[in-house]
């Protein structure tokens, strides 16, 4: 079982190192296949682990394996250790499985880019980092993975480094995640100060003062929010779409951005001792899913629309994990990985076919030329909106239901948000759909469309899309909470759903009904506006501008953090560093030299002056002696 986990972890790293060392001595395709194989090997390892775990008793499904002591000081030490338990097993499967498909996809997508090797080295490195994150056997190692995925996300967002916008987006993503890392680190410092350890066990069974607990939880939540682009740390995600589309699919949809959810599930004992903070997490999710959904309504870049929907879906997961229904959150994470990766990859097909065009206003009627893409996208869209029998339906509804299960006033607020979110999802998703696929191809499309040897894309691209379309359809059947819930049971030893968050069947039913109706309503409205044009979009210029400016978060941060920092620094340099710090020494030197020339003046060259000094000196000494004797 541990063998599988090590294999799973190290295979992608090996791929990275191999590609880096070979450098330009191997053809591009070779690099691509090295990466792909390594990730699929990792998937094999994950499956191996899973199968072994299957054969064990639920109680004994968790195992820790240590390679060596990574960091040690005094009585604090953190090993380079992996933890395999149901939770990490699931994540390993998702990461390596979906990851493998996406890497395969990018063979076609990146074909012809002259720095392909670098791309594949990076992406393999990402998979490694992500696996380290989910397998990390203690908080420190988890933080390491946490940082490394941020790093690889930086590398991949800025992959096309001649584009200033890409470089800027990459930096922004990294810095915001660094902020999250910092808050997590601070949380860890508190733990170390109390328990002298960062092991899961040591810190999950200890009871700290409620302040400490809350601070720790807040720190973790900060990291989670930054990584998962939850309000207020969400602004980097849309910009991250500067990266290649497979990157968006893998990192910014399927895996990395959902790490926040994993973190909450993994460290749920801490959160449960700080229940308030946990509910704040839920609230954040609720807020984010609404805000993101609203912003998505006005975006015109196909990838940004999907990006905002990602934010909103992660909002759902936070909601679920926050209220205590970890399994439901994780389940949505799973299905979301399928259909969101699918959506991105179909979008990628479209972009690829249109030579990099991403503005949906130019894409009308693409479906006529790309039927496969069209249908796959439809599957993803329906799954996203949560229309039965597609996967989203099963996972999303149970989350909203758990909110209802709380029964408290905020529980109901969450519930309403969930329903409203479902409506928005339907609206923006099908806005996208109606704008892009149906109808006669627009002149722009006709002009720019080019197929790949008569197909909509290279087989390496089409196969993964197909597979994911299948998964997005059937993936949800794994569990329908009212009737069967193997997934929840599987996770129970690692992350037991809280009793308060376990919905009754009735709650499940009417919640499902509500969400489906809301979703359908959204779809209908989209149809009416963008397909039939029977309803006009209300002008509401203020609201439109607000949404187009994403509620002015960027402007806000610019004004509150960046500009003041720059002003402060320039001020320091002009007013303090240059005049004071750098100048003091020279000034003192000048003074000394001035003194020197003063002393020099008494050296008149006149003999009598010299004698005078001698005489005066003698007289002085005599006088002093006569007085002092």
């Amino acid at each position: 079982m541990t063998g599988g986990s090590w294999l799973c972890l190290l295979a992608p790293l090996g791929g990275t190192i191999l590609i880096t060392l070979c450098g330009t001595r191997i053809p591009r395709l070779a690099a691509a296949w090295i990466a792909t194989t390594s990730v699929f090997v990792a998937f094999g390892g994950a499956v191996w682990t899973f199968v072994e775990m299957q054969s064990r008793q639920p109680r004994s499904r968790s195992e820790i394996t240590t390679a060596w002591t990574w960091l040690q000081s005094g009585n604090f030490h953190a090993g380079l250790q992996l933890l395999v338990d149901p939770l990490s097993a699931v994540m390993m499967l998702i990461v390596s499985g979906v990851g493998g498909l996406i890497v395969l996809y990018s063979i076609g997508y990146m074909d012809g880019d002259d720095e392909e090797r670098r791309y594949f080295a990076y992406i393999a490195f990402f998979v490694f980092s992500m696996l380290l994150l989910v397998e990390g056997g203690n908080l420190l190692l988890l933080l390491v993975g946490w940082g490394l995925v941020g790093l690889s996300s930086y590398l991949l967002i800025g992959f096309w480094h001649e584009r200033p916008s890409a470089v800027q987006a990459a930096k922004k993503a990294f810095v915001m995640n660094a902020f999250g890392d910092a808050t997590m680190a601070l949380a860890f410092f508190i733990l170390i100060a109390h328990t002298h350890s960062l092991d899961f066990g040591a810190n999950f069974n200890v009871h700290l003062s409620s302040t400490a607990e809350n601070l720790v939880a807040l720190g973790l939540l900060g990291g989670a929010a930054a990584k998962s682009a939850q309000i207020p740390l969400q602004t980097w995600l849309p910009d991250a779409m500067e990266g290649p589309t497979p990157v968006s699919a893998l990192i910014h949809a399927a895996t990395m951005v959902t790490a926040g959810v994993y973190l909450i599930a993994r460290t749920h004992p801490i959160f449960e001792q700080a229940r308030t903070v946990e509910l704040i997490a839920a609230g954040t999710g609720a807020l984010t899913l609404l805000v993101a959904g609203l912003i998505a309504l006005v975006q015109v870049d196909i990838k940004r629309v999907i990006a905002y929907s990602t934010m909103s879906q992660i909002g759902y997961m936070f909601l679920g994990a926050g209220v205590g229904a970890y399994a439901n959150g994780m389940f949505h994470l799973l299905t979301h990985a399928f259909f969101k990766a699918l959506l991105f990859m179909t979008a990628g097909l479209a972009i690829h076919a249109l030579a990099g065009e991403q503005d949906i206003r130019n894409m009308r009627g693409l479906g006529r030329l790309m039927p496969f893409t069209k249908w796959c996208f439809l599957v993803g869209a329906l799954a996203l909106v949560g229309i039965p029998p597609f996967s989203g339906f099963f996972s999303k509804d149970s989350i909203v239901a758990s909110a209802a299960a709380l029964g408290t006033w905020y529980g109901w607020i969450f519930w309403v948000c969930g329903i409203a979110g479902a409506f928005l999802t339907g609206l923006y998703t099908f806005r996208l759909w109606f704008l892009v696929f149906p109808g006669e191809p627009s002149p722009f499309v006709r002009e720019h469309y080019h197929d790949h040897h008569g197909r909509e894309g290279a087989w390496t691209m089409l196969v993964p899309v197909g597979v994911l379309a299948l998964l997005a359809t059937v993936g949800g059947w794994l569990q329908w909470s009212p009737r069967w819930h193997p997934f929840t049971d599987w996770l129970a030893p690692a992350a037991q759903t809280l009793a308060v968050a376990a919905p009754t069947n009735t709650q499940e039913y009417y919640t499902s009904a509500a969400t489906v109706i809301a979703g359908l309503a959204g779809i209908a409205l989209a149809w009416a506006i963008y397909s039939e044009q029977t309803i006009a979009v209300p002008a509401a210029p203020f609201w439109r501008r607000t949404l187009e400016h994403k509620f002015w978060f960027d402007e806000l941060y610019d004004a509150v953090f960046y500009k003041p920092a720059v002003a402060l620094t320039n001020g320091l340099r002009r007013e303090f560093e240059e005049p004071v710090v750098l100048q003091t020494g020279p000034d003192l030197g000048e003074t000394t030299l001035a003194t020197g020339s003063l002393v020099r003046r008494i050296q008149t060259g006149l003999l009598r002056t010299y004698v005078l000094f001698l005489a005066a000196g003698a007289a002085g000494v005599v006088l002093a002696f006569l007085i002092a004797k």
Binding site: G23, T24, W68, T69, W70, L71, Q72, S73, G74, N75, F76, H77, L140, L143, V144, G145, W146, G147, L148, G150, L151, Y154, G158, H161, E162, R163, P164, V167, A170, K171, F174, V175, A178, F179, D181, A182, T183, A185, L186, F188, F189, I190, I192, A193, A565, V566, L568, T569, N570, L572, R573, E577, V580, V581, L582, Q583, T584, G585, P586, G589
Partner: protein, 484 residues
């Protein structure tokens, strides 16, 4: 050869080499190779020393002692502890790389140049190994002599002001230290660091600290730093920030903290405040610096502050983290300055507005600069992350706000380091970046790659240093107990 003599060999071998080079009328090439040979031999001897060092034994090891002049109790006393072992290693490795760089770029007046580089090596090793205050002071000063000439002769346009400023600034501190040494030694009756008693005198503590905070440097005593780092030849800047600055921090650990426990705790908050100021201030200025070396220079200021934060936290994690971070940052800034030199050789400038887009077609340069830069901004999993994590966790136990400040500064570090990377490697091609500007040549790779490899190794096993710097389970107790 018995183990103890290794200590002295490490000090005197390069000095002998320097004299040899000055005496022998060799060609530039021969001189360079000879110097390189000597510095590699240094590395070899150090590896031997590290191999023979017994981490399970307490106290000073491989000590050599001979009376220098007895009537005042001054003796030539050298030896190594765990942490000094690592710093010596850092010195010999970095100096070897920098000597190699000088050889690679073919410094003129080679005999003088290489002789001085070797002299510098010996003196610096001496600082880290000497266990007698006067010997320590002698080596501490001796470092200045070659540096003064190296900067002044082979430096940039404004080298003269820079070098005078550097020497006088640092001497201002160390001369006060000499006064403190005289007083301490005569009071104690011995100048020996191992036998010497602890002192409670705040004045003496301050006398020593002045020298160290200027050398390190800490805010606001860094007036010499920007000019020196900008005007010195790149390999010398590398030595300055990578190794020489560590001498000041080493002094804080070995003398100020170990010998003056009461004053240390009395002035702890003050020093921590200075360190934190250096950390934030340096990071901010690095963030707005307009050239490659400027960023690295101010980031070294910030790093000195961070390390001092760890040292004066006075906790187990703080000490271990500080030593680890000294070594990590030493390797980082050495490689960064060498890369800066490589860039300047190709583009004749370090100004950001004239640089950019060097990644395209120069994979080796891009990979190395990227790797070092990313390690230096303490991405989790890197050696410097381990160091900074320990330091901040350590100082957290002193008071939470220190580590809060530190964490904030780490975010700043990310900002300026990414700015550096993208300004050099990314976006549109800079006006001074010609197509002919080649990727790193094998010679340059041979210098930087080992340093980076060392960093990666440390990243994989930071405990290798963090757990092998002080004897026993609790570094704080070891320091309190005079490393016995």
């Amino acid at each position: 050869m018995n183990a103890t003599s290794l200590t002295s060999i490490l000090i005197w071998l390069p000095i002998a080499g320097a004299i040899l080079i000055w005496v022998l009328p060799l060609s530039r090439y021969a001189t360079g190779s000879l110097a390189l040979l000597f510095s590699l031999a240094e590395v070899g001897f150090w590896i031997e020393q590290a191999a023979r060092f017994d981490f399970s034994r307490s106290g000073l090891q491989m000590a050599e002692r001979a009376s220098w002049f007895g009537d005042l109790g001054v003796s030539y006393h050298v030896g190594v502890y765990g942490f000094s072992l690592w710093l010596v290693g850092l010195t010999v490795v970095a100096m070897a790389a920098c000597t190699g760089y000088g050889f690679w770029v073919g410094r003129d007046r080679s005999r003088a140049y290489f002789g001085l580089m070797l002299l510098l090596t010996g003196a610096t090793v001496g600082v880290f190994e000497s266990q007698d205050l006067l010997v320590f002071y002698a080596f501490f000063e001796a470092m200045l002599i070659p540096l003064y000439v190296l900067i002044g002769v082979w430096g940039g346009a404004r080298r003269m002001e820079a070098t005078i400023k550097f020497v006088i600034y640092t001497m201002a501190g160390s001369l006060l230290m000499l006064a403190a040494i005289v007083v301490y030694g005569l009071q104690a009756g011995t100048f020996d660091l191992v036998d010497g008693p602890v002192s409670a005198s705040r004045w003496l503590f301050l006398g020593f600290m002045v020298a160290f905070v200027i050398k390190a440097p800490l805010f606001p005593f860094h007036g010499w730093l920007p000019d020196a780092y900008r005007e010195a030849p790149p390999e010398v800047s590398a030595v300055l920030s990578g190794v020489i600055a560590k001498a000041g921090l080493y002094g804080m650990l070995r003398i100020a903290i170990a010998k003056f426990p009461d004053p240390t705790s009395f002035y702890r908050t003050t020093v921590l405040a200075l360190a934190a100021a250096a950390l934030v201030y340096g990071s901010l200025l690095a963030f707005r610096a307009t050239d490659f070396r400027g960023v690295v220079a101010y980031s070294s200021l910030a790093q000195s502050g961070l390390i001092a934060l760890g040292l004066f936290a006075g906790t187990d994690l703080g000490f271990d983290g500080a030593v680890l971070q000294m070594v990590a940052h030493g390797l980082i800034s050495t490689s960064l300055f060498l890369i800066a030199g490589a860039v300047e050789r190709r583009t004749t400038t370090g100004e950001f507005r004239l640089l950019g887009g060097m990644a395209r077609g120069r994979p080796a340069l891009a990979t190395l600069l990227m790797t070092v830069g990313i390690i230096s901004l303490a991405v989790p999993g890197s050696a410097s992350f381990a160091g900074e994590f320990l330091i901040l966790a350590g100082v957290f136990q002193r008071a939470w706000w220190w580590s809060a400040i530190g964490a904030g500064a780490i975010v700043l570090a990310a900002m300026y380091m990414l700015r550096l990377i993208s300004a050099v490697l990314h976006e549109a091609r800079g006006s001074t970046v010609a197509d002919e500007a080649l990727d790193l040549r094998p010679g340059e790779l041979a210098l930087v790659v080992p340093l980076v490899a060392g960093l990666l190794f440390l990243s994989a096993w930071p405990a290798g240093i963090s757990h092998h710097s002080f004897f026993g389970q609790s570094p704080a107790a070891t320091v309190k107990g005079q490393f016995k």
